[in-house]
Amino acid sequence: MSRANLEVELSGVKLRNPLILASGFVDDDPSLLLRAWKAGFGALTTKSLTPKPREGYKPPIIAFTKAGYLNAVGLANPGIESLPHLLSKLPEEAKVIVSLAGSTPEDFRYSSEKADKAKVDIIELNLSCPHVKGMGMDIIHDISYSLEVIESVVSTSSKPVFVKLGLTDTYLSLVSRALDKGVSGFTIMNTVRAMAIDIESLKPVLSNVFGGLSGPAIHPIAVRMVYEVYSEFSIPIIGVGGVDDWTDVIEFIAAGASGVGIGSYLFLRSVEKIDVLLKGVEKFMVDRGFSSISEIRGIAIKR
């Protein structure tokens, strides 16, 4: 098979390919990040880190539904101070996106100052976790508060800042106003608040009752959001949500994404399996005569 060039650029950061380990997936231990890098990702996102370590919820923290997965991990993470340790095994050339979570502009500024000093390429602000009170959707539902959070980071950080969006009524106006504040791009999307009741016990499965829906279920919603944002603003976008095979990767790129996050694909699959996605994308490009990802980016936009 002949080859295609899979490189992409994301706010000045060059990635060897568009696949990005999504936040929250086997990404809170140095050996796991190294393994993921070796598996071939273009970039790795850390678990969302808070100023202090968090325990998270008790199991069950995941549920399987017919069309996707639910999780309520509860932002379990080793805290921002662990960042240098987390990255300690990665080779120089590895590209890293650090995801930050918190409740206040001060939380985010505190963490982003630590991140600024670490070997990370992009800072991602997780404003959209759907199952932790005061730390996710509660922020993004309030546009002016979100803008305060964003400003607290953008104003001091030297790295490109991405905002991770969830599904909200007003996300397009948040995008527009966040861009005014100097945000570089957006990660679209986080999980959608949802739940499952087990039919045997007639009880909610998740210990937290509510969790975030991910996987194929949300893919068409994520594609729509990427398409809407890209067609209006033409900015760097990481499309995340329900990638299940290589066609979903192409779909995100055709809708306007430069990077494509891989998350639920890893349920019951080891990270090495992303090879199947990479091969699929490359074969598609060769078969259809595309020589670079940028030729496909946004190609589906109807003007």
Binding site: G24, S31, L32, K58, G68, N71, S207, F267, L268
Partner: protein, 251 residues
């Protein structure tokens, strides 16, 4: 996706072996539960915990468990007819395909998946020695069961109250070259000792490892074996010594 759903499991028996050690017999319909596989046991009011069945036959699963915290404490109070919920099987089981001499060596409740492996080996007419290490004779679990299958069975107690006095790793050290394959499961220190002995003597060995399992399906990272990037729930819980070594378990 829809694959991993809960099944109702009815308590048939819940037998106290010794103060904090129990056999729980569950009537539950689950396909393909092999020795080394684990399942998640869900008590809706509490938590979900991983357990490796010590037998599954004719729709009855035996869980041999030690009371260590809230959930296992709750389990110890289950009565006949009570229902709990399980999902699985998860993980990769022991590879029992090699025809040769097996040594099964279990530390404490780690013996659970090994006695199940013994059943499978006996069915195949493969020869095995079963070694169980427990604190004292009250904790003796499966010696009789192993013998009744026609295997050799050796008990080690820490206090010497029955069988050999000491640790089952003593047996391994002295007899390692008599076996083609070692299967082991126990607490971390025990597993590490087995790992080192087998690594050095180059005997084939599979160890079932334990870490905190939260998601059970390879996404949360909670069950990582430090330094190696290996996940107990997805890559394991059973690992070959050569795999562990290759991934840096030595470090």
């Amino acid at each position: 996706m829809g694959k991993i759903r809960y099944r109702r499991a009815f308590v048939k028996e819940n037998i106290e072996v010794c103060r904090d050690l129990y056999h729980l017999y569950l009537e539950v319909d689950m396909k393909n539960v092999e020795p080394g596989h684990f399942i998640m046991v869900w008590i809706p009011e509490l938590e979900e915990v991983p357990m490796a069945p010590s037998l599954y036959r004719d729709g009855v699963m035996r869980i041999t468990y030690k009371v260590v915290g809230e959930t296992t404490k709750y389990m110890s109070g289950l009565s006949i007819g009570d229902e709990i919920f399980v999902r699985g099987p998860l993980g990769k089981p022991f590879d029992l395909s090699m025809n040769g001499r097996y040594l099964l060596i279990g530390g404490g409740v780690g013996a659970a998946p090994l006695i199940y492996a013994a059943h499978r080996l006996a069915e195949k007419n493969y020869s095995f020695t079963y070694v169980e290490g427990v604190p004292n004779k009250g904790y003796k679990m499966f010696i009789q069961e192993a013998i009744s299958m026609g295997g050799e069975a050796i008990l080690y107690t820490e206090d010497g109250s029955e069988g050999f006095s000491g640790l089952p790793t003593d047996y391994l050290r002295d007899n390692i070259n008599d076996y083609d394959m070692v299967l082991a499961c126990g607490p971390e220190a025990f597993n590490k000792a087995v790992y080192e002995l087998c690594r050095d003597s180059k005997v084939n060995c599979q160890i079932s490892m334990e870490r905190i399992v939260k998601c059970g399906v390879g996404v949360c990272g909670s069950c990582v074996i430090e330094e190696t990037g290996l996940l107990v729930c997805l890559d394991g819980p059973v690992f070959s010594v050569s795999m562990l070594r290759e991934k840096g378990y030595d470090c």
